[in-house]
Structures are given as C-alpha cells and as structure tokens.
Symmetry: C2
Subunit: 302 residues, 2 copies
Amino acid sequence: MKSLQEIAAHAQARKVKTRIAVAVAEDSNTMGALCRAAQEGFVFPILIGTKQRILSLLETAALPSEAYQIIDIPDQDAATKAAVKLVKTGQADVLMKGLVSTDKFLREVLNKQRGLLPPNVVMSYTCALELPKYHKLLLISDTAVLPYPDLNQKIAMVNYSVKMAHKLGIKEPKVALISATEKVTEGMPNTIDSALISKMAERGQIKGCIIDGPLDVFLACDPPSVQIKGVPTPIAGDADILIFPNLETANAFYKGLMLFAEGELAGLIQGTEKPVIVMSRSESEKSKYYCLALSCLMTEVR
Amino acid sequence: MKSLQEIAAHAQARKVKTRIAVAVAEDSNTMGALCRAAQEGFVFPILIGTKQRILSLLETAALPSEAYQIIDIPDQDAATKAAVKLVKTGQADVLMKGLVSTDKFLREVLNKQRGLLPPNVVMSYTCALELPKYHKLLLISDTAVLPYPDLNQKIAMVNYSVKMAHKLGIKEPKVALISATEKVTEGMPNTIDSALISKMAERGQIKGCIIDGPLDVFLACDPPSVQIKGVPTPIAGDADILIFPNLETANAFYKGLMLFAEGELAGLIQGTEKPVIVMSRSESEKSKYYCLALSCLMTEVR
C-alpha cells in the first residue's frame, strides 16, 4: 500500500466491521470520520458519552440505527473508563479518543490495573505520512509520545514501525535513522545510538527490515543526494521508515510538511494490546478517517 | 523583501560590487554562482586556489577579465588562510567556502589569532527559507552550527536572525520559539528556555522583534491552527523567524521542505566580523547565488 487511500480501500475490501470504542464521542470531526467509515462498512462505532449530543451529531449523517451503538455516560472520566474496559475485555477491537483531553485519556490507557499497556512495554507512536512529492508512504516515529527516546526506546520505535510496514504489505522496509549528519560523532549522541542500532541489525538483533543510520533527510529520501555525497547506504534515498532522534524533530518535520507540502497522515499509539487512536481536536476529519482505516489493518491477523 | 529573488534584485539595484574572497574556488557550482552574480554587477570575486582549474571553469562563463581577480595558491590550507586574511584586513567584504572541506574552512575562521570570530561571541547560522506555500520568507536557525544551543546561545540565535530580518526590511519581525507543544513543561527543557526568552523580551532584554514561545510549527505558521486551539499568541501563525530547539530539528525541518515543498534557501554564518558563506558541495548553484545576494545585503550599512 503506497497511499492512505489504498489503506482505506483495503479496509473496505476486507468486509470486516472493526468495533471502535470511542471515549467521549461527542466531537464533530471524530463523529464525521466514524460515520464515513461505518457507511463504507469497515467499522462498527460504539459511541460512549452524552447520548443527546451524540444523537444530534448523528442526525446529519443518516446512519441506520443498527450500524452503531450508543452508551450514555455523560461523565468524561467514566466514559473513558468504560471505553477502555470494552477494549480490555474484548468487546471492542480499537480504542479511540473523542472530546476528552489527551492527558485524561492516556492516564486511563496507562492505568496498571485497567489499562491497555502490558508491563515493561514501551509506548510509542507511528504515523503514516503521505506526501504528493514522495513515491510512497513514509512511516515516521515518534511524533507524539516519547520526548527523548533512549536506545531501547528507539529500538522499540523501529520494531513497531517495521510491524506497521509489514501490515501495509512492505516485506522488507528500509529504515533510516535520522540525524543532522551521516557522520558518527560523540558531539551528537543520537548518531551513536543510530550507529549501534545499525550494527545490532547487522548482527540479527533487529529483523524484518533493512536499516541504516545515522543519515540525514536527504540521504534517507533523495537518491540524487546519495549520488552526490557518495555515501554507501542500503537506504539509498528510498526510505519507508524514518526514526527521529527526538519528539521535537519528528514533530517539526511532519507539521512543516502538513502545512507546506500538502501532507496527510494517519497515526496510532504503539505498544498497547490493541490499536489506540489519539488525534488532537484540531486534526481533520480526513486524518481521523484514515486512522480508523489504519487501525482496522493493524487488527488483522496474518 | 518577501522572496530570495527580491533579495537578489535588491543586491543588483545597489550598484555596489561586494568583494568576495573565495577559499579554494575551483568548484563548479560555486564558480557558476559567482559568475552569475558578477555578471549582474553585484560582486567582485577574488578567486583563491589553483589558477589553471579556475581559468578552465571561467571559460564557459565569458566573464571579462577585469570583473574578477585570481590568486594562484594551489595548497588548500594556504588558500583558505589567504582568503580569511583578505577579509580580516579589509581587502574583501565576504568570505566564501569553495572546494575545501567545511572542517578545514571553519578551523581557519575560528582561529583565535587569524580568524573572524571575536572573542566570546557565539557563532551560529541563519537561513532564509522560501516556500511556495508560505506568504513570505521564513528565517530559521540553527540548521548547521550549534548542535544543542543553551539559553544564551538561543538568545544569540534570536538576535542574529532579527538583525537579518531588519536588513531585509522587516521592521518588527515575529519570532516563534519552536517546540513540539505550546505548553511549558519540565519534561521538555526547551519549552523552559522558550518561556524564559519570551519573558526576557517582555522585560526589554531582547529588542526589535515580537517574540513568543514555546509554540509548535502550526501555531507559528498557520492562522487556522491558532484559531482552533485558541492559544493567545502575538505570532498568530504569521512568523518571520523560527528558532529551533536543536540542530537536528532545524535540519530535518528544512531538508524535508527542500525535498517535498519546493523550498529554496540562502544561509550565512552568524557572529563573524564579516559575512561568511559555507554551503556544502551538494548545494545548488542557485542556493549559492542567493547566499551571495544575501551576504551583500548584510554588508550594507544602514
């Protein structure tokens, strides 16, 4: 799959309704995305929140009443708890954030008793970024969760992103470990982590991908730059996955491209027992729709 | 000035030939940019390096022999020393890197006796980035020199960029201190620096600009995001200058936009007695030409 549209088409073609538990569902963008995906037949929304508000948002969508379920819990904390519980107990396949704040939502996801993150598992975030000027999707991590990942967290970021690439049908994704330079230098500790991860992959400690770093964005995504600089790298300007040194870098990178390069994206929390969709309120309906399609693919057993 | 082309037009209109000392000039991109700027009448190149190679590169340019000077010094170290000396002694106005490695070149610029950086002055880098989808130039810092700037270095980055904005005719540039979030949190030390710098500006400790941070790229450059998020900031999605938390972030940001958003840029070393142009070999002739135009403007006394 080389585009978000292909991901959505694949989700539709599966003819499986993934059950989405939505915490505090009364948010118009979120409801818009859910209604579209439900109409296209690939999700079954379980809408938890204030019933009256949810119903009024449903009015415009003309979704048949058997195509969704509403659970009336007006209190935000209680609604979030209920949504997490549905996923935890196998009554829903995917958890999605609605109008509740990200902090409150994640606190429940991370709760040691009731939450969705197994003990000692790294939680991270991977996005699929579509750019009109790149010939395929770019999976990027971590734009949202880990501020300053250490070596082990970076390895987890690699593994999660590789797993997502496999689900998208990319058998051996090319992973670029991004820095400002391709040189390994003590002055930039991230280049050291990148060198270590590259070597670990060479030793078979990371599997299912071709991985190299440190590399800058040019060497990762632009074949002419690789030629001019003469850097021998198996990524060769054809990266499928970019692993960033820290959240600030990943965040500025994707936001710049959303604004100025007509970027579009879908992202998911990584490490949880089931897919979790956490999009900010300002994110578009389209992005949320693509998140739903992506989450359906990630629930697929292959 | 809202575009690199306007900067070039302004440099041409001044009718002043800025003297450019070029260290190891025998590089085709560099020579191409110099010949174009010389033909347009705004630079006088002093080409230091291997005379025969320089002459053969000049053949295609058809530049009259009175429009440049060649100093035949084949040894790279000696040529670089000579170029720096010309600028240091006022016989040239701008220093430019040619085929010599950036390391060697900067070592000479930074030399305590012979170099161009006054004692206790922060050396940094500011770029003017032009994006078809943004309504004006974005000045960004630091894409090249300071890996992890501390508070004082960030303040220097602000002051250098503000000075460049003034030279470009922007009276009160809007400076956004970029982070992944607009929230001040101890978990992300850069947000603390940003808050401190904002407050310092409020107290008159930084002048000549409107400054705010922490802000993410959306709040800095996209008015609708400011509206949706309801964050009260004088930058209001209309930033002239972006100050990044570290080199990795600035570097990935601009390289992504060069590749995928048809970005074009010109940059200069900041802090030196005279403008210094350090472009990598892979940079285009056009970028080097715009650097020359920008350096001419920076030598202007107002």
